[in-house]
């Protein structure tokens, strides 16, 4: 798998939101939502992206799909540079890259029947006749575990899990190869989560899908992902396959994150690494290593030099001076 050219290649991606101030609305500072992220996603794999709220996971996903303009860096999809393309040029690629959203209640237009919502995507991207479109939509509904008679229903007639299935059908409608799941199961009950995860896995094998699975839920990410990227304050902290990250975490932030997972075995004590202080503001970005303000093992040079993104063992990258 590693020898294949990657499906998606992100290089030194930066996404800053300007803070404007003064009378002439000058840019006085930037919120560094994504700060120098490089990653590769290979065909057919699931890349999990974890990190606490506000660490830039969702922004990364949205920027990759062209929903946000990047500030710097490049995004290549199947070798074509798609970063900073106009909407018109991007449309060709949008067919291949889809997104599943977090909130199944907010991500469907309340005034549109779900059949029409799915059909609309086919209208945008294909030249199918009305009848063919309807057949395709019914296929999709069945594929994601709904019934074809759900075609004429409005979103408010569905439960959260069913709506998320509609969201999945929408992402699937144009046969994409990459799907960004932005907290796709976080808003659901645990039992429904399991069903949706199962569905996502099934669809992955039947359609040869590649997922970027963004979540703050470490257990779900572990279950879903082949490789896991840990993000902290817009930057990459550690990347490796699931085993490497979960069994042999190197970065102190990853260790702290993993130690916060509640253990199901009572009485079994595990040392918990508690981080002190709050997440620094992305508008007042720390110098050197972004994590040095809270890092339990930080040395003086951590505040000055930004750690390199280096490979410590095969496929296991980490950004830390002390590893």
């Amino acid at each position: 798998m590693v020898n294949q050219p990657p499906l998606l290649e992100v290089e030194k991606l930066k996404k800053y939101y300007p803070i404007k101030g003064g009378i002439i609305q000058r840019t006085i500072s930037n919120v560094k939502a994504v700060h120098d992220v490089s990653l590769e996603v290979h065909e057919g794999e699931t890349l999990g992206i974890v990190g606490e709220s506000g660490c830039g996971k969702s922004t990364l996903g949205r920027t990759v799909l062209g929903l946000e303009n990047l500030t710097e860096g490049s995004i290549r999809f199947r070798g074509d540079n798609i970063g900073g393309l106009s909407d018109r040029k991007l449309k060709k690629y949008k067919k291949d890259m889809q997104m599943i959203f977090q909130d199944p209640y907010a991500s469907l237009n309340p005034r549109q029947r779900i059949g029409d919502a799915l059909e609309e995507i086919l209208i945008i991207h294909t030249k199918l006749s009305k009848k063919e479109r309807r057949n395709r939509v019914q296929e999709l509904l069945v594929e994601v575990g709904l019934k074809d008679e759900h075609f004429d229903r409005y979103p408010h007639e569905f439960s959260g899990g069913q709506r998320q299935r509609v969201g999945i059908a929408r992402a699937l409608a144009v046969n994409p190869s990459l799907i960004v799941c932005d907290e796709a199961v976080s808003a659901l009950d645990v039992s429904v989560q399991a069903q949706i995860i199962k569905l996502l896995k099934e669809l992955q094998s039947t359609h040869n899908l590649t997922y970027m699975f963004i979540s703050h839920d470490l257990a779900v990410v572990r279950h879903m992902s082949d490789r896991v990227l840990v993000m902290y304050l817009g930057a990459t902290a550690e990347l490796g396959n699931s085993d490497q990250i979960y069994n042999n975490p190197l970065h102190p932030y990853t260790k702290a994150l993993l130690s916060s997972i509640p253990r199901p075995i009572p009485g079994k004590k595990k040392e918990r690494i508690q981080l002190v202080g709050d997440l620094p503001s992305a508008s007042d970005y720390p110098s050197g290593c972004p994590f040095h303000t809270r890092c339990p093992i930080a040395k003086s040079h951590c505040a000055e030099v930004r750690p390199e993104w280096r490979e410590v063992e095969e496929g296991h990258f980490v950004a830390c001076h002390e590893v």
Binding site: R62, D87, A106, P110, E120, I121, H125
Partner: protein, 298 residues
């Protein structure tokens, strides 16, 4: 009420089969005042449509032998004016004028206001310019702006329509812009962008249908203002000219006979009052019925 609770309540409710608009109408009908308003508007519409069938005399027919007859006079149950014209007939034809002028003015105002509101709400770059122009229009008191426009164009009912519609545009643009801004942030708009939908498609298929509630309320309320303004302008001699049976013009004509024939002014006055009142209470009822926060307890 927090969003969590709202979600839970939705879950426990059995799936609703009724269409959204059916529900809304049902809720409006629970409001007694709004029902009263609807009845008045309905009567007015009937009068306007069937005017020729409902009167015995034309609105312009003079009978100088029977001037200034009071209410309840034989053959003229609302009396006659100073030229002996039948007040009932003039009142009924006046309803026609008021409704047509109101609908036309509000319709044109809505088209302009919705277009501007959608553009300025959706395209951030144009927002500043459009909203400053709207501010400029807002700076004039409404009736003054209308008078200014009529002074430039000349006095006629058509110009009244133009004046009132121009004056309706800024209010409508503001309201539409506000709802566009809130709908635009919804995740389903982002979802449509992520599948590559064009701006036109997003605006007309996804944003506009979700902004209809405030637009409907605005239009209803605006009908009241438009009818009142038409009457006011005609009263001042800037709108409908005599002998047109326009309510405002009728009040003006009755001014000189306030003592010997007060019904000449009072009857159209009551008609204006009732109509404006009706549109306002219906607007209020619609606003309450369309308020999304009310969905939970109904």
């Amino acid at each position: 009420m927090s969003a969590d609770i709202a979600l839970n309540e939705n879950k426990t409710k059995p799936p609703k089969k009724e269409k959204y608009y059916v529900q809304t109408i049902r809720r409006v009908l629970k409001n007694k005042l709004a029902v009263f308003g609807i009845i008045i508007i309905f009567i007015q519409v009937i009068l306007a449509i069937f005017a020729p069938l409902l009167v015995n005399y034309g609105p312009y027919v003079q009978d100088l032998s029977q001037t200034k007859l009071g209410i309840g006079a034989e053959g003229h149950f609302l009396g006659t004016d100073n030229y002996g014209r039948d007040m009932w007939s003039r009142l009924v034809y006046g309803a026609r004028i008021s409704l047509i002028v109101g609908l036309a003015a509000v319709g044109i105002g809505l088209i302009g206001g919705i277009a501007l509101g959608l553009i300025s709400g959706y395209y951030k770059k144009l927002d500043g310019i459009i909203m400053r122009i709207v501010d400029l229009l807002f700076a004039f008191p409404g009736i003054l702006l209308a008078m200014l426009i009529i002074a430039m164009l000349g006095t006629s009912l058509v110009n009244v329509v133009i004046a009132i519609s121009i004056w309706s545009i800024p209010g409508c643009a503001r309201i539409v812009r506000g709802s566009v801004l809130s709908v635009k942030k919804q995740e389903y708009i982002l979802a449509m962008k992520s599948v590559g939908a064009s701006d036109i498609r997003i605006i007309f298929k996804h944003i506009l249908p979700n902004c209809t509630a405030p637009i409907i309320v605005f239009a209803t309320m605006r009908m009241a203002t438009a009818i009142l303004s038409t009457a006011a302008l005609s009263f001042l001699g800037l709108g409908a000219q005599p002998p047109t049976p326009e309510w405002g013009a009728m009040i003006a004509a009755g001014q000189d006979f306030m003592w010997d024939a007060p019904h000449m002014s009072i009857i159209p006055g009551i008609a204006i009052m009732l109509t404006v009142f009706a549109f306002n209470v219906v607007g209020d009822g619609l606003r309450d019925a369309l308020d999304p926060n009310m969905n939970l307890d109904m």
